[in-house]
Symmetry: C2
Subunit: 513 residues, 2 copies
Amino acid sequence: MSTAPRRIRMHERDNVAIVVNDGGLPAGTRFEDGLCLVDAVPQGHKLALHAIAAGQPVLRYGVCIGHARQPIATGAWVHERLLQMPEARALDQPLPRPEPAPALAPLAGYSFQGYRNADGSVGTRNILAISTTVQCVAGVLNLALQRIKAELLPLYPNVDDVVAIEHAYGCGVAIDAPGAEIPIRTLRNLALNPNFGGEVMLVSLGCEKLQPDRLLPPGSLPIADAQASSRVRLQDEQHVGLGSMLDSILAQARAHLERLNRRQRETVPASELVVGLQCGGSDAFSGVTANPALGFCADLLVRAGATVMFSEVTEVRDAVDQLVSRAADAEVAEAIQRELAWYDAYLQRGRSDRSANTTPGNKAGGLSNIVEKAMGSVVKSGTAPIAGVVPPGERACSKGLLFAATPASDFVCGTLQLAAGMNMHVFTTGRGTPYGLAACPVIKVATRTELATRWHDLMDLDAGRIASGEASIETMGWELFHLMLDVASGRRTWSERWGLHNAMVLFSPAPIT
Amino acid sequence: MSTAPRRIRMHERDNVAIVVNDGGLPAGTRFEDGLCLVDAVPQGHKLALHAIAAGQPVLRYGVCIGHARQPIATGAWVHERLLQMPEARALDQPLPRPEPAPALAPLAGYSFQGYRNADGSVGTRNILAISTTVQCVAGVLNLALQRIKAELLPLYPNVDDVVAIEHAYGCGVAIDAPGAEIPIRTLRNLALNPNFGGEVMLVSLGCEKLQPDRLLPPGSLPIADAQASSRVRLQDEQHVGLGSMLDSILAQARAHLERLNRRQRETVPASELVVGLQCGGSDAFSGVTANPALGFCADLLVRAGATVMFSEVTEVRDAVDQLVSRAADAEVAEAIQRELAWYDAYLQRGRSDRSANTTPGNKAGGLSNIVEKAMGSVVKSGTAPIAGVVPPGERACSKGLLFAATPASDFVCGTLQLAAGMNMHVFTTGRGTPYGLAACPVIKVATRTELATRWHDLMDLDAGRIASGEASIETMGWELFHLMLDVASGRRTWSERWGLHNAMVLFSPAPIT
């Protein structure tokens, strides 16, 4: 990266820009155009391009991210304490919606090597998943997993892995309270993720609240072959001692592994991708480098006919006008408002609001508040019309750009995107997180070259080259698009190579008992 | 077990008894005293000892567990559908409190072999715990744990194990909302569990909401030796690539293991036990065999000067009169009511109530509703005065019988009892659960001989011998007391022998973002 002072303005209306240089810039720094810093400004933080009077809006992404609490001089550091955050847009009335944006031009000719499933979906990996009704079985299942990995997996080389859908739900919960349907349908749809090949194996205890028939009601499985679904219940009288429980689990696992092992990758169109987008450990570069590149790539995916999900309710809440105006039709617009309003009420019940989202790391990285963060977050959704809304825990059942209305919490969002049918995950990060999922490949995109260099064996792509001028948003978007097709075809991401996996975490708004 | 028909009545006022025989008893069965069953009654289910008119109370444990919805004949099966559950006792006024029960007579002369800690507490195991601020670090930490177990643990044979305090909290949460203090103090106090030897090792990410100084504020550790506390932050600039993160974690772990390895067990009085009581997968025998034996044992422990915690708010809610009347003083009585009322409000916010507690397994096992379950649950607290109340996530700081006000959810309760300082866990079960914790030995007590026989390598004690008449509550209580001292001294429980461990699960009533 050049050592000349560099700054980036996102929109022509903006009266602030952010500092690009590693380590920030000292007071007195003079830019090429003569602008001079009156304060030291850390990397990623904002400087005032003009004098801003007290009470005037501070504009970034062409949007008001706050009002100046005091006069701000040209070249001053516009830090979070100088900004009064705007009120959230009320959601009780339908928001105005201009003519829907036209659909993007189709993009033909792209494909990958995937595993075609009986229900029509396509996996990018070939994994045996073992579902559970309740945490009580986790200890026994973990012992069984150790044996499956040691004794069985080597016999079935076409199977990539075996994973337990372990969780804290299933008993000791108010299972009939409002909101309890969310974790239950999440678990049901997780079992049906395309990467699990249509094999549904369930381990239950016996006395738990979440009974197998409640988790997977008869007829709920879109599985033709009855053999593809199996159940082991630890309290069954046939189980005498731990050994017989482990034997039952291994016997069922073997039958599923036999079938999974016979599967082969085949050429499928790029439209079979179901991509979940997420960002975490964001900084001010997230909205400048990685997220715009991802947004460009999202448009390519939508044009290629794929399903693309963006999420993180509290991180798009302040972009509601933009989202509603991009809705493909009135029904989608209404669903967007409904999901955001539901989340407002959920937070309010817990005496909180959207401002609880931002982290110390966000602020250290230059993001003053949730409004600024949201504008940088929603950029990754690109420009396509929003074709649908997926409530938390539901499965996505349409193509195009979807708003999967999940919390922003990285692991909850990832889990809900898996339940929605994600077979490819892209995660952008500025501060750096070693995020990974066992169920799905995760491509991690760094917002800054310094991070990509330092975490050279954790970050899959360096979008910091956009800030340094080495790459454009377009070339980076295309690079990511091709990387996705490679990874979907079997190329392993860094987190897969290392076996770096985080927990699946359920969104469970109802109380425990 | 004899094949003669057997029934058990818990209190002389009771107008129902439960069937003891495996497989239940058919209609027409005649008991020795001439009573004849008019219905088939499953094992553990209730039969009417007298005719009960519609609207009249059905009494078990001498307490009304419901009113008859219709006339019930002598010898009829009193199933859940015949009972109208009583209203919950209002908590808005102080409940009457007779003279506090006298303290129990001291019991001297019992000891075990434990690890004495610098802060005065005593461990029953010698474990390295690695705390985490956030789920983001779990993947890296799991890789580090694999290396620590393979490369380091064999070098330190006096150390029993290394465990990660992994959790879903720490970011993506409303960290300043009411209730957020519960998971935070839980994590803090977990790190201080006596089984972790006063060594506090923390792995953090860097940008997360739960910053290390918020989790462990300077001065919050009762640790004299500064070396005993260490921190690794993955985003620190010194970390170049995954390998250097793993090296940092291993280097810190090695220093802690060195010190832990030098510790020796020594003779300590039984008063150093901090015992957490819990039941799960309960049936109608829970309140007849295992819990009464555990209650007798709890009295022995209190008499020996130990700390004994009973918990599970929704499972003792209906015994509030009994709890308040057993409070050692007015302050304790008030704290009991305060904690139960807090939980009522928590459930109500989620539009639920205590009746959400009972499971299909409870009902299949003969427990008609939460009132009957509560009466059988609270029996395990014995008869000692209640000396104190521990709010969720707080550390117990007094001896005697304490009410640790935790949810009934098995894993949340166990985790909060660990945070309270538990060094010994007793878990009674009727339906059967393979519960285990990595941080603390768990003694599992079966309520029925059939379960203890079938799960011969999972259940540590068979309290079913009380129902069959082979053992008394007293002899079983003493047997459990001696078993506890053995296990505290190093004898391994079944779950330890197999490595059967469940997740720690935080109680987190505030919203996620």
